[in-house]
Structures are given as structure tokens and as C-alpha cells.
């Protein structure tokens, strides 16, 4: 059992070691296996033998030896031997870390991120590979995080590595013309990892590793490597400001508590002040983007002492900018809520009516839940009740159903309300 210190060190070094191997030899798939075996060896031996003087060099040596074995085995199977001779002895290229070398390590980690988030892969594969190769999580941990059997996750990762090998993508940073798009894919993958963790936080399953913490760690890393990318800073701020509310987001029995009813004294003030400082500094650079705008909205919510004192006009203005930048159905719904908070529920309901034809929006439970909330605000309890029940039918999640049914239960129909059109 590795100590937490050894474990942290190994997870920090894993992407550097993998990158060094892939840079030198190619063979992303086999290199990844070799690094996993070297990490395993380190985790079992270091606690007994003591940490080596240069842990990174130790890992590269062991992983390179293992990769040589794996390549030999593969080549023997294919009846090809010539490439073995091309392998240099591992000791020839290990140098103690100095400043120049460390810069290379940073570049290597970045290239590895780009490679794991390669456009040839499906989002599910990009996520799995990123967590495995850059995050250093075991296949079993990733499988538990996504609630799939370990064998399924093993196949997914193997296919992803094969797809990278087949695509012939070199171990090199993307070209200048591709760079912006590729970086956006990396950020999107990190965002998906975070939202997966955030959505799961309310469910059962103590065995699930903390995907939010992992997503934040990797985003911090990306931000450190490319500090001038404002959208990466925006993403990190958004994660900090959203995760800050987590302690107040669920009740004692795991039930969801909407933001308006959360106990704000339980919000994480340190995370909020870091997130606010980051997004404030980033917005000053005047290169806005969707993540920065979402972070700014989260900051306005987090800075309000109570739900009643929330600066809704500012949030509405930010959502209007955001809708120009992004065609996201969830953003459209939140925009309708913000409109209702500023201009009254009727204005919000009118916006919802315009969205009713968009099947991406109107078939999800959120659409009906928002409609119910606005109808309740508009003083139409019977129609609101019908909409809450309809929303409950549109989700298979029991916690969501329980929340929506409880809302509906509070609104008993009265004779006056029967006149209302309740679809």
C-alpha cells in the first residue's frame, strides 16, 4: 500500500514519464502499459527500499526496460526484429532534472493532454484516456467513477490507444492553425469530467473517486502550462466557484437542495475568493468566452449573501452575452429563469414558449421543471403542479423525481386554478 506522499508523487510524475517514453519510442499504447507497470513497481518497492534519489529517472529507466520487453515480445510475435536494435540503452538519455529539462516536462504533459483529447476519439474515450494517462487513475478507479464494469473500461481504453496508434498522430504539439480548436477540445473534456463528478455527488456510491477534484487538478495544470489562455482560466474559475457550493448542495440524506434554499454559510469561502480573484483578473484582459461568462455568473451567485440579494440584472446581462456566444439548451433555460427574476415570470414563460419547438430543450425534464417554477412564481399553482409532475415523468433519476414530486405536493389544486390551461 503506497503512502499518500508516494502516491501523489507518482501521479505527478506519471504523465512526464509516459511523455518521455512516447517522445523517445512512439508506441503510445505499449508505452502506457509500461509506465503503469513501472508505477506499480515503484508503489510496492519505494515504501520498503526508500525513495530513489531521482524518482523520475528511476521510473523512466524501469518503464523503458519494460517497454523494451513489450516491444521485443510484440516484434517476436510478428517476426520482426530490426527495430529492437534502434532502442538506445535507457541509461544513455537520463539526465538529472534541471530547469531546461523541467520546461520539456511541462511541454510533454501538454502534448500528452492533446494526444488523449485527440479528435479521432469519442468523448467517452477522450475522458477515459485523459484520466488514465494524464490523471494517473487506475482503470478500476475510472470504471467505478463512471459506474461501468472494469472490463468495459479496459476495452474502452485499449480501443482509444489503438485509435491513436491508427491515426498516426505524432507525439508533437498541434500546429499553430489547429491549436485553438484542439485546446478547446481539451477544455471540453476537462469540463465533462467535472460535470460527471458534480452530477454524481448527490448519488450513492462511496467508492466513486472524486472526479471534480481530478478535473480541477488537471485544469490547474493546463492553466499553469498556458497561463495566457483566458478560457482555461475561465474554466478553472467556473469549477472553483461551482464546487464551492458542494457542501450545501445536498441534505443529510443525499437529497438535492436548490441554490435558493442552500445554507450559504456552508459554502467554501476559500474556493470562492480564489475563483472570484481569478475570473476578475481574467475578464480584465477583454478576451471573453463561454467559460469566462459562466464563471462570472457563478461569481455573482456566490457573492450574494442571500438568494434575495442576488444581482439578477447583472446575471441576465451575462446570460445575454452567453447566448450570443453559445447555442446551449441549458444556457437558454437559465436565461429564461434570469429573465423571469428581472422582468417577471411572464417574460420568462414567453421565452420558454419560444424554446418549445427546440427538441433538445423541450424533451428534457429541466424544461418542464423551469416552466413549473415560473408558473408557480406567476401565481398559477395548478398549472405549476401539472408541470412539476410532467418534469418528474421526464427523468429516470429517483432523487430528481423525489424533488419534483415534493414540489408538486405542496401545490394542491384549487377551484379557481382549474380555469388555467394545464396542457
Amino acid at each position: 500500500m503506497p503512502t499518500p506522499v508516494v502516491e501523489d508523487l507518482l501521479r505527478a510524475l506519471a504523465p512526464q514519464v509516459l511523455a518521455a517514453l512516447v517522445r523517445r519510442y512512439g508506441h503510445f499504447d505499449l508505452a502506457e502499459d509500461a509506465v503503469q507497470e513501472a508505477l506499480l513497481a515503484a508503489a510496492t518497492r519505494w515504501p520498503h527500499d526508500g525513495d530513489p534519489d531521482n524518482p523520475r529517472a528511476w521510473l523512466i529507466t524501469v518503464a523503458a526496460r519494460r517497454l523494451t520487453d513489450l516491444l521485443r515480445a510484440e516484434q517476436a510475435r510478428r517476426g520482426r526484429e530490426q527495430a529492437t536494435a534502434a532502442l538506445m540503452p535507457a541509461g544513455d538519455w537520463i539526465t538529472p532534472a534541471d530547469d531546461a529539462r523541467r520546461l520539456d516536462d511541462a511541454d510533454d504533459t501538454l502534448i500528452l493532454l492533446f494526444l488523449c483529447c485527440h479528435p479521432a476519439l469519442s468523448p467517452a474515450s477522450q475522458i477515459a484516456l485523459t484520466l488514465r494517462a494524464v490523471g494517473g487513475l487506475s482503470t478500476g478507479e475510472i470504471a467505478r467513477a463512471f459506474l461501468v464494469p472494469e472490463a468495459t473500461m479496459t476495452r474502452r481504453i485499449t480501443r482509444a490507444k489503438q485509435a491513436i496508434a491508427d491515426s498516426g498522430a505524432p507525439f508533437a504539439p498541434p500546429t499553430a492553425s489547429e491549436r485553438g480548436l484542439r485546446l478547446a477540445v481539451v477544455r471540453h473534456v476537462l469540463y465533462l469530467i467535472f460535470t460527471e463528478g458534480y452530477a454524481a455527488a448527490a448519488g450513492v456510491g462511496l467508492l466513486r473517486p472524486d472526479l471534480c477534484a481530478e478535473a480541477m487538478r488537471l485544469t490547474r495544470l493546463l492553466h499553469r502550462l498556458l497561463p495566457n489562455e483566458t478560457e482555461t482560466a475561465g474554466l478553472l474559475a467556473l469549477m472553483l466557484l461551482t464546487d464551492a457550493r458542494r457542501p450545501a448542495r445536498t441534505g443529510p440524506h443525499g437529497e438535492l437542495i436548490p441554490m435558493a434554499e442552500q445554507d450559504r454559510s456552508r459554502w467554501d469561502l476559500a474556493a470562492i475568493s480564489e475563483g472570484v480573484a481569478l475570473i476578475t483578473a481574467t475578464l480584465r484582459r477583454r478576451q471573453p468566452g463561454p467559460f469566462q461568462l459562466q464563471a462570472a455568473i457563478a461569481a455573482v451567485h456566490d457573492e450574494a449573501a442571500s438568494a434575495e440579494t442576488t444581482d439578477w440584472p447583472q446575471i441576465l446581462a451575462l446570460y445575454e452575452l452567453l447566448r450570443e456566444a453559445s447555442d446551449n439548451p441549458v444556457i437558454a433555460l437559465n436565461h429564461a429563469v434570469a429573465t423571469a427574476m428581472v422582468h417577471g415570470p411572464r417574460a420568462g414563460l414567453q421565452l420558454l414558449d419560444q424554446l418549445a419547438d427546440d427538441t433538445r430543450v423541450a424533451t428534457g425534464y429541466r424544461f418542464h421543471a423551469v416552466r413549473a417554477q415560473l408558473l408557480e412564481m406567476a401565481g398559477e399553482p395548478a398549472a405549476a403542479r401539472v408541470a412539476y409532475l410532467k418534469a418528474a415523468r421526464h427523468t429516470a433519476s429517483l432523487p430528481h423525481q423525489r424533488y419534483l414530486h415534493a414540489r408538486a405536493d405542496r401545490l394542491t389544486p384549487t377551484p379557481v386554478d382549474r380555469r388555467t390551461d394545464c396542457d
Partner: protein
């Protein structure tokens, strides 16, 4: 394979659906069930007997496909309100059918309002290979 059965009515009670005719579950009921199931799964995982386990969503979300006049016809939510259908399953790899039965019997101890009288659990051996199914 251990099969746990339940009806749409049971799901509605768990989801707190108004007028479902059964005692609605409270948050504490859910927490107790969650704790029980986590301990149950953890013990099976630690003994190395657990292969896989899954819970299914309410039968209302089921679809049935059947051939009608030579064309496949799809029905949404094909089950009656009180019909007992598969709600979740465990695949266990253990010494004998008796051991699997012993494991399955523990599921009747799962806490919940009105749960003890209604819980139906089946145990069915998985065929190991095609040879067991063909002459």
C-alpha cells in the same frame, strides 16, 4: 444471477409520487437502503464473489418490441402498475447454488417501508457455455 423484482407502484412510492397508494419513502428511508446496499455490495466485492451489479430504472421507461403482422411494433411502458418486473440484478461467481441462495436471501433484510412482505428475489444459474444449452 440474483434478480430483485419490483413493480411500477414500488418505484412510484420511492419517487414520492402523489397518490401512488403506497407509503411514500422519506429521505431517511433512502439513506438506510443506500447504506444497506453499499455494505451488501462491498462485502460481495471484498469476498471476490461480485462480478457485476446494476439497478434498473422504473418499468415506465421500458420499451417492448414485438412482431405484429410481420412488422416490429414498439410499445412504451408495457407493464401493468402492479406487475412485478426485474428491478436490479447481481451476477455472483460463488461456490454453489446454495451459496448464491444464501447471498440472495440477505436481500430480504433490505430496509424500507412495506418492503419485507413484498420483496421477491430470484436466483438463476447462468449457463456457462453454449454446450449447456445445446445437445
Amino acid at each position: 444471477m440474483i434478480l430483485l423484482c419490483g413493480s411500477q407502484g414500488d418505484y412510484d412510492a420511492m419517487a414520492g409520487k402523489p397518490g401512488s397508494g403506497k407509503p411514500a419513502w422519506t429521505g431517511a428511508d433512502f439513506a438506510a437502503l443506500g447504506t444497506f446496499m453499499e455494505a451488501f455490495n462491498r462485502e460481495l466485492a471484498e469476498s471476490g464473489e461480485l462480478v457485476e451489479t446494476r439497478g434498473l430504472t422504473a418499468p415506465a421507461y421500458a420499451r417492448r418490441i414485438r412482431l405484429q403482422d410481420g412488422a416490429p411494433v414498439i410499445t412504451d411502458g408495457p407493464y401493468a402498475e402492479s406487475e412485478e418486473v426485474l428491478a436490479g440484478y447481481w451476477i455472483v461467481d460463488c461456490a454453489s447454488l446454495d451459496r448464491a441462495t444464501q447471498i440472495a436471501a440477505r436481500l430480504t433484510e433490505a430496509p424500507g417501508p412495506d418492503a419485507r412482505e413484498r420483496a421477491v428475489v430470484d436466483v438463476r444459474p447462468v449457463a456457462e457455455s453454449r454446450d449447456e444449452l445445446e445437445p
